[in-house]
């Protein structure tokens, strides 16, 4: 079954079409890297998939369900540019709150487990405000994972992280993949993404111009994809 199925999705901001009939299929269990230049529409696409924004035209089905029922929403985890946790709550309180909102059975237990997974159990009562950037990002990951989502939507998850934080995040994502989750992530850091990606999709000016499995060329040379399927890096 397909985890994500977007069929000719259009999204207008005013008169400007940020997406112009983008179609995307992500099989279950895959890790899809959504690549594309600045302004190509990656964030827009992910927000539509996460039901944060409505497509102007076109159909989006998540796990075969086009109606955005809360059953589907309970299966998705979203991590955008912001970390999505409250600065004035402790790590544990944050996770318990989101556990409750996401309909997790035992929010406290789930929260503790999530904290352990990201290695924050020691500081569970610390306010998120006091965390360093790396810790905040981990808390955000724990938050996005707390309900063991079957579909993870990540917008530039590696931005501004150091090598060590990137490793932690990658191993968490690998874990999730091995449990059968599906991942869609946008990124400009192609090398880091390719460690995980099984599939890639290339967005250009609101259209998907290429989708396919990851190939060795992409790993070896990050620019290859753009040169082959996109319009290449031209000097302007």
């Amino acid at each position: 079954m397909l985890a994500v199925e977007a069929d000719r999705v259009w999204k207008y901001f005013g008169d400007y079409p940020a997406l112009r009939g983008a179609s995307l299929q992500v099989p279950q269990g895959a890790c899809m890297a959504l690549l594309g230049r600045n302004g190509a529409g990656k964030t827009t696409m992910l927000r539509i998939l996460a039901n944060l924004s409505r497509a102007t035209k076109g159909d989006v089905k998540i796990f075969g369900d086009g109606s955005r029922s809360d059953i589907v929403r309970r299966k998705t985890g979203y991590l955008g540019h912001g970390i999505g946790v409250y600065d004035d709550l402790s790590a544990l309180e944050n996770l318990m709150l989101f556990g409750r909102l996401l309909g997790v059975d035992n929010p406290e237990k789930a929260a503790m487990e999530a904290l352990e997974r990201v290695g924050l159990e020691r500081v569970k009562d610390g306010m998120a405000r006091e965390f360093s950037r790396g810790m905040r990002q981990r808390l955000a990951v724990a938050r996005a994972f707390i309900h063991q989502p079957e579909l993870l939507l990540l917008d530039e998850p590696f931005t501004s992280l150091d090598d060590r934080a990137i490793n932690v995040l990658q191993s968490l994502l690998k874990d999730a993949l091995s449990r059968g989750s599906t991942i869609v992530m946008s990124t400009h850091q192609i090398r880091e993404a390719m460690e995980l990606a099984t599939n890639v999709a290339l967005l250009e000016r609101g259209k998907i111009v290429h989708t396919g499995p990851q190939t060795p060329e992409m790993l070896a040379d990050p620019g290859w994809l753009y040169r082959t399927y996109g319009d290449g890096p031209v000097a302007e």
Binding site: V123, G126, R129, E130, S132
Partner: protein, 226 residues
């Protein structure tokens, strides 16, 4: 050292205050026009005078902080302002009670009362803004700035009953005009001293807490950053 100073101050304060309270309540006769209620003056005025003293200290330490960037000055400022604001509140409440008894109303909007209320609100603003700023250097600088601006009200409070063409509901000056009965003067002075001693002890405690709190915060941050 600090602890010793605090204990000594507290003991001194007790030594001054207890006999003085005895004089005020048992020794002095009721006042001719007001009756027993006039005894409020022995807390009403010392509270105001001490508040003004501590605000002045905070003005000086705020300037010192801005120049020297040493957190010691900041911690003294904030302790002085906390205690001073409490004293202003005492002054306002006792004044209101007195007014209710004398004039039949809790509050009249004359210049003295208004300026004193303004003083309370200004320093309350200081105490509100402080915790809203997370970064300590910024917090201290901004606090110092606000403290200096707020202090501009103090001369107004003092002048309020001394301006030639302003009529106030509040009684005029009694201290420097010598209208205070001679037997009131000693207990009054001792009252000022007692409040001063107690509050200085409080300020030392608060100043210590403030420093300790900053250290704890940074230790916790350090722990988190590992």
């Amino acid at each position: 050292m600090r602890e010793k100073a605090i204990y000594i101050l507290a003991i001194l304060a007790a030594l001054v205050m207890i006999p003085n309270l005895k004089t005020v309540f048992m020794g002095l006769p009721d006042e001719a026009m007001q009756g027993a209620i006039y005894r409020i003056i022995f807390i009403h005025v010392p509270a105001a005078i001490n508040a003004q003293i501590f605000f002045t200290v905070s003005l000086v330490t705020s300037i010192l902080f801005l120049v020297k960037k040493n957190f010691l000055w900041d911690s003294i400022s904030v302790s002085c302002i906390e205690v001073g604001t409490m004293l202003v509140l005492v002054n306002l409440v006792t004044g209101s009670i007195w007014g209710r008894n004398q004039w039949g109303i809790w509050w009249a909007w004359d210049l003295r009362m208004t300026s004193q209320l303004m003083c309370f609100l200004l320093y309350l603003g200081y105490l509100l803004v402080r915790p809203a700023i997370a970064e300590p250097t910024q917090r201290a600088s901004i606090s110092a700035f606000v403290a200096i601006f707020a202090y501009a009200d103090i001369p107004l409070v003092l002048m309020a009953i001394r301006l030639p063409n302003v009529r106030t509901q509040h009684p005029g000056p009694v201290l420097e005009t010598g209208t205070m009965a001679p037997e009131f003067r000693a207990p009054f002075g001792l009252g000022v001293l007692a409040v001063f001693l107690i509050c200085t002890a409080l300020i030392l405690i608060r100043q210590h807490q403030e420093t300790a709190q900053r250290e704890i915060d940074s230790l916790r941050r350090e722990l988190h950053s590992i």
